[in-house]
Symmetry: D2
Subunit: 372 residues, 4 copies
């Protein structure tokens, strides 16, 4: 259950790591929107593994096909079916891990939940599932850009202990973000982050980080009171991304330390509308957008798959040393963690965060467009 | 829209600050659960303003009535209607604020969204709306306790810059939490928090804080892959509470700074099941509960309503000094912020956080109970 | 579950026959719609028992109160809570029927489903639940009338074997429908229907019938392909009304006997748009409204509660003669069917059918209003 | 919108007549259900055009591929993606009909709704869309059969004016139904129906009919009060099938003519449970199944596509004679109705009706399985 997100702009995803393909159905996209595969492929390419030295070697084309919902490059108003075939499956890489649930992976919880799990890789908990989100998000972004003029840009704000300074929220763009493999637009920080990732990779370890996202030109009035507050839906969307552990909007956790007199955003007149002098609210007040940029941050834990030896137990509770190519124990699972994995996922998470933000905003924008 | 939350255990709330009443319909609660008003009233009393010197003077009984769905103290399986009448309305307190949108309140965004807003108070953005959540949450908690043995306990982990040390997640209970008005179970921290609140109150200012919550005896297997991950639904639920700015589960934002080798939770055998040695995951892996306690934290900003003077503009963009009882400007709105408000909401937020957690877990537990 | 209907204009009902009250939450109604209790009360009065000699003697005021969602007679955009208290409960009338499931009532199925049932009356299967539908439907109708100019009129087309001739779909109105207690606008048929009802009532029996409904000024383009076809949602809405056994739109079952050349509705130019010469489609093509009147018919079975003796069994399978005031058997349940019930429900079903149609069309009209 | 059906067993369809393919995502199917393509293909073959002399010549293999959700022939609990590629598209057949909306087709309503429509064929209103329903329905049927022991059998009960007599609801099976191309299990009626279809086909006309369906071994207790009544969801499901005009359950429209004393189903003891002597209720009471067979009937209008000349207007309102290969008017659209279409769709509708019934019952059965 819960493979569907959204009320009006509604996406339903399917596919796991090693089946025939991963896809999504986008229902509720307005008609007559120009849409071709290239509109979607660009973000898939940014998400794709094997783009740089920083990420896994698993190199898949991840080419998307539009199965339905468009004709002559225009949407018909009918559901848009998108499919990316899984070309490079290598299930044997994973065969041996069947008896040992990898620490901080979903092997154990899936087994308990379903009484079965995909033999190869993490099933629906695999990062490969995010292909569907990015494909759908690209459609949402096209809609937001063409019909509402909105822009969404995410970047890496921290890797491990390396924090980038704040960037200019009004000018940061994807070209600047993509200038470095690590997708941090601040050059000096980017260099330090990449060095840190290289160091950790060499140590067969992994590293977490933070993705920051800004949504610009968001009209005031989006978001629905109570359970559909903009920040509530963004939080759900972001915490649904694999490996996320936290979400904060505007002042976030640091706002909890401020006095009200400092935290409040005074109103000012801006171009014939009301704006705010500061933006600790992060673009939302009472759950509804106020016309200022939406700014939020997402915490990603370090990837659970590491090459270093780990002491754990198998499904029967017997102690096991889990290690890539290890030889320390007869129970050892030699290639259990020998798959192709990133030491740090945040650079590739950037387009995923953008996509999830786009899905939320497309839904809220269409809902707010209801007129009578 | 979006006044409904949940798929199987489904709640729909209604009511704003100064209408006839606030209520909720709980649909999908199993039959034959013992349920009387007292089961619900207790948490409403903990949420109620006027409980202590720390909170607003607005004293309302907030007595709940069960309108439907039970007979002879047992649920029938039909929707449970719950209603709390608004007894103390004082709309005149708010009459004068109509022309000035209060900074960091929802006056402006509601006006833009709906072209109208409740004249008195913040409409659906008022904290009074949370009565419905707490009432519904109490039903959910009863279900979780009686049918699943689960326990949910929240407390204040920080007020402004006063951070309480970690508490024992396995033993902290509501009696301990309620020992101090500020609802922090750590005595020394509680004293310091209360002193800080008193100081800020005297300065006509306000203060944010952090609520921590633990859910114990949660069976492994709850949560739905992709968009219904336990942490995703908790994040939505928490960020839907007024004044929240952040959510983190397990290691949270600090997890983004750890190495994988340190962050991973090794499995160990525990009472015939697998458990984990550490719990940086916060009780979830791949979005699905693993049987360990769920632990999360929620950041609350300082309340926007303060007595100190604020420079802002009115709906027409003209400068205004907003001050309780102020006299500095002919445009001033004397009682605009003279309402009854808390300098720090986190103590009263504790039962709200517990209630929202209960709503999420009740839904997920019923979904996971589907058998065939 | 399933106490909620609609996607954008969303109603959630609660309440059963003998609890404190019956109510509904209407979420998604646009703001600034004029709405006061009187707008709702009128249809509730038409639904109310005890209006005429034809219906039950149970006389309840059924006064509706708006609990939330309006201020100064205008909707705020927030959920509208509506409540009708149950004043006349007489649970003792039903006390004795606890051990015998009444034939063709829901006593048995509710008991099996929930392991419990409301001791008095039929719980959620009671006709009293329809109060909530009519209250919500009145809000929907107000919206459809004020914002879209739509009109909905239903009437009794048949009672038992008495069929009224077709009426003029363009002019039939509620005044004409209400001219006779039986709510058939054709005078001669109305007289015959009333005579038939009186005859059957004297025989302690009951009678079914058919309600016909027309929706006028429906814009072309409402309805959503595949599962949200206008006729599909109307069919669900109508078959959700107690005692209904069938639904047909346009040509309906008789259309199954026609040749395509006779059934097809040729297009013609009408006032600058395309219309159809005939309307066997009933106002929909491919599930989407075509601008012609929507016409449908709903079959109601005879009420299951009759005064005549019935041979049946109790919950343990033991034979019982069920009779109002009967004395034939020691097992007999004297007042089991001594409640206050109609010999024919179709006159009172007229506003219920109108209300359900309004709920469906309000939802589809708002959905179609989505623009970007 | 509305391409998704169901709450727990949830299907989302995509695809139109002439795009790359038609497919469906089945979310919420329990894990460990044996499922391979052959389980699905059988019903697709029964739906497929070109099976017999009775149906269109459009011969497509309609081979289904399972894209996700299974491994080693067992479901994983993750969404099941199913795809059928469109092999035989012939868009040129339809090219000429762009300027003339075919009478009683959806060309006009889609154009008005979306401001665009699929150039070739009827887009989502095409019968080809039902492939997705049948594929998903086959999964639902497998679940119902394996886990609940339910059986669903539909057949043709009438073609035009040829009515088949009632069949034995307890023994009718698919082998008996498929004995004749027309899918009526009563031999003599089948012969007459086939003769009638041949006659009408020769006259370049089309014919409607009725499909009857029985669901056996349905446990008591399925269906949700108020808006989720079994008959309400079945009615929605059936009226969502293209070309349907009516639905009736149990006594249906004829029940509206009966007296209550005749219509009521007395209870009797049956194998340790309560059953009913008659089954005018059609297996449901108060919207909840009572353990008796569910029996319902669906009316299908004659297909709108006929070879005979039709006087209509084009999109601009100008008169046109629409005829297959006709030459009567310079405005004529020669091949506008020269596509490959059935003179009578009811034989092919049989598996569609079964599939939609299976989708509804699978959802209700899973919902009722919720335990705590």
């Amino acid at each position: 259950m819960f493979s569907t997100l959204g009320t009006v702009f509604k996406v339903t995803t399917f596919g796991e790591s090693h089946c025939a393909g991963v896809g999504v159905v986008v229902d509720g996209c307005p008609s007559r929107l120009p849409l071709v595969e290239a509109d979607i492929q660009h973000q898939l390419d940014r998400r794709r593994p094997g783009q740089s030295r920083l990420s896994t070697d698993r190199n898949e084309a991840d080419s998307v096909v539009i199965l339905s919902g468009t004709e002559n490059g225009l949407t018909l108003g009918s559901p848009i079916g998108l499919l990316v075939l899984n070309k490079d499956q290598r299930p044997t890489d994973y065969a041996s891990m069947r008896q040992v649930p990898r620490p901080s992976h979903a092997d154990y919880t899936y087994q308990i939940k379903y009484g079965i799990r995909a033999a190869s890789g993490g099933g629906r908990s695999s990062a490969r599932e995010t292909i569907a989100r990015v494909a759908a998000g690209a459609v949402a972004e096209k809609l937001l850009r063409e019909r509402f003029g909105m822009e969404i840009v995410a970047w890496v704000g921290a890797v491990g202990d390396v924090d980038a300074p704040d960037v200019d929220l009004l000018t940061v763009d994807r070209a600047g973000v993509d200038r470095f493999d690590v997708r941090c637009p601040h050059a000096e920080s980017a260099e330090r982050m990449m060095a840190e990732i290289a160091r950790v990779k060499a140590a067969k370890d992994s590293l977490g980080g933070v993705v920051v996202c800004v949504c610009r030109n968001v009209p005031a009035g989006l978001g629905e009171p109570v359970f559909g507050k903009t920040e509530a839906l963004l939080a759900q969307a972001m915490l649904s991304i694999p490996a996320t552990k936290g979400f904060e909007i505007g002042s976030g956790f640091s706002g909890a330390r401020m006095l009200g007199s400092r935290h409040n955003d005074p109103f000012v007149a801006k171009d014939g509308r009301l704006g705010t002098l500061t933006n600790r609210s992060g673009g939302v007040q009472g759950g509804i957008t106020n016309g200022e940029p939406i700014v939020f941050r997402v915490a990603f834990k370090p990837p659970a798959t590491i090459g270093r030896a780990q002491e754990t137990v198998d499904f029967d509770g017997a102690p096991v040393t889990l290690e890539a190519g290890g030889r320390h124990d007869p129970c050892v699972v030699p290639r259990a963690v020998g798959g192709r994995h990133d030491p740090c996922v945040v650079p590739r998470a950037v387009p995923i965060v953008e996509s999830m933000a786009a899905l939320v905003l497309a839904d809220l924008a269409l809902i707010q467009s209801i007129r009578c």
